[in-house]
């Protein structure tokens, strides 16, 4: 935010950066080769719901768009709300269909942005899992245009597997733009798609 905007107290909503999401399939190959993590086929988008009819209408459009393939065997998206009041849309594909999953996520983004709700986008999640059942999510921060890994301990409880997260960061540096500021790696406990 510029000096003048701060001085006049008119912070503007931050626009999202949507393009980096398409780097996920290549990162998935690296993750599998280097650490044995395979995509689960689950991906989700999180956004702050806006009050009023306009946003509800856009939300309906987005769901209709993603469910267009349901008659031909696709799985319908699941909508949910978390404890913080944010909305989540969860898309399911088979693990091999990672590019299709990313397309779905991107469709949500561009639909929201096209209707002027781009600033409401919070983050996107793509789920991975290894043989031992350790979940891992690549979380995409729209406002930063960067990813960070989030790996909750499989044993449950709100504990992060930080060594693994840092290992993944070192691994994916060439494939994705990663969030360098560790204080922005906020936990998304119990997020759909983990």
């Amino acid at each position: 935010m510029g000096f003048l905007d701060a001085l006049l107290g008119r912070s503007k909503p931050v626009k999202p950066d949507l393009d980096q999401l398409f780097g996920v399939p290549s990162a998935a190959l690296t993750l599998e080769a280097a650490a044995g993590f395979r995509p689960t086929g689950l991906g989700s988008v999180c956004f702050a719901a806006v009050e009023g009819g306009a946003f509800a209408e856009v939300e309906r459009q987005v769901r209709a768009l993603l469910d267009a393939d349901t008659p031909s065997g696709g799985v319908p998206v699941e909508a949910s709300q978390d404890a913080y009041g944010y909305s989540w849309l969860l898309a399911r594909h088979s693990p091999e269909q990672l590019p299709e999953l990313v397309n779905d996520l991107h469709a949500v983004n561009s639909e929201l942005e096209g209707n002027g709700f781009g600033p409401q986008l919070l983050c996107s999640l793509v789920g991975f899992r290894n043989e031992a059942g350790q979940p891992l999510a690549l979380v995409y921060l729209y406002k930063r245009g960067a990813f960070y890994p989030f790996a909750p301990m499989p044993s449950g409880g709100e504990k992060r597997n930080s060594p693994l997260e840092l290992q993944v960061r070192a691994m994916l540096g060439n494939d994705l733009r990663l969030e360098q500021d560790l204080s922005r790696w906020f936990p998304v406990w119990g997020a759909p798609g983990l």
């Binding site: 006049l8 107290g9 931050v14 626009k15 806006v50 306009a54 002027g116 204080s183 922005r184 906020f186």
Partner: protein, 306 residues
């Protein structure tokens, strides 16, 4: 992907910006006038006075986070202690693309929240336990977004600089009165010095009153701007409005001893501890009236509806 032609759902409030600019200009004008007067009347002595009050000002500005935190009995809390509070701030910071401030809680049943710190990286957002107890998650989010907007707008810096004139004028009055008593015994033959001894306290008092009214006015505009930014960030002006009605309603019912205790920190608070009843009180108030704030939020809510 192109973002050109994309429209924003939020219309800027040019009237509010204009009023704020005018107020800041007037404060600056009083500043310049007062400084000029001091230089003319005090000649050699003014650098010393400016130095002393400048030092006070820098200290107040530099340690604003620590000072306010300590005065309010706030202590920093971890994500393990207050997961919901931290989680909400995490998400708001990610939405607004700003660094996460430190999070503190004050054990106090008066429902309120404040933000302090001279720059976003050094800021603290504090809520009272009374606020956490009374608000729903969505209302709490609205209040926290309001506080984060204060951080983003650097309101502590703006209000400290705007308020410094009052501090300087107050200090001048005291120094001049004290100096007048001391100087009376020694050499009172310099007529210029005698005039200065009369004019400086008088001018200082006028400047103090003027800057007091102007900073309060500016503070009210900054509050409206923070409400507006919070509504844009969360997309839920009504949740913030509901939080406001809860918080201000509760404050009216609290005994006055606590209220007096809390008064010096009103400027950094989410809602003032004293409710303004009529136009005269409104003039001295750091916060706009509840009706005014609700009206603005209702307008934004209307804009979002279609």
């Amino acid at each position: 992907m192109s973002t050109s032609g994309q429209h924003s759902r939020f219309a800027p409030d040019r009237g509010l910006t204009g009023r704020m600019v005018t107020t800041m200009f007037l404060i600056g004008l009083v500043y310049v006038g007062f400084t000029g007067l001091l230089i003319v009347l005090l000649r050699g002595a003014w650098p010393l006075i400016v130095l002393i009050s400048g030092g006070l000002f820098v200290a107040q500005f530099w340690f604003s986070d620590k000072i306010t935190e300590r005065a309010m009995g706030a202590h920093e809390v971890t994500a393990e202690q207050y997961p919901q509070l931290h989680g909400t701030i995490d998400r708001l910071c990610a939405l607004a693309d700003m660094p996460k401030p430190r999070v503190a809680v004050a054990v106090n049943d008066m429902p309120n929240a404040f933000a302090t710190g001279r720059k976003p990286e050094k800021s603290v957002v504090c809520v009272t336990t009374g606020l956490l107890r009374r608000l729903d998650p969505e209302e709490l989010e609205g209040v926290l977004a309001h506080e984060l907007s204060h951080v983003a707008h650097r309101d502590v810096a703006v209000m400290t600089i705007a308020g410094f004139l009052g501090v300087l004028a107050g200090a001048m009055t005291r120094i001049a009165l004290y100096g007048g008593m001391m100087g009376g015994n020694r050499n009172s033959n310099d007529s210029n010095a005698a005039i200065a001894m009369i004019i400086i306290p008088l001018a200082s008092m006028v400047v103090y009153a003027l800057s007091f009214l102007l900073t309060r006015l500016l503070s009210r505009y900054r509050e409206l701007a923070a409400d507006r930014a919070a509504a844009q960030l969360t997309g839920r002006p009504s949740a913030l409005a509901s939080a406001l009605t809860k918080v201000t309603g509760q404050i009216a019912a609290i005994p006055s001893k606590d209220l007096r205790q809390a008064q010096p920190y009103n400027a950094f608070y989410f809602a003032p501890a004293l409710s303004a009843r009529d136009a005269a009180t409104q003039l001295f108030s750091t916060h706009p009236s509840l009706e005014q704030r609700l009206a603005q939020l209702a307008k934004i809510s209307g804009e979002l509806g279609h």
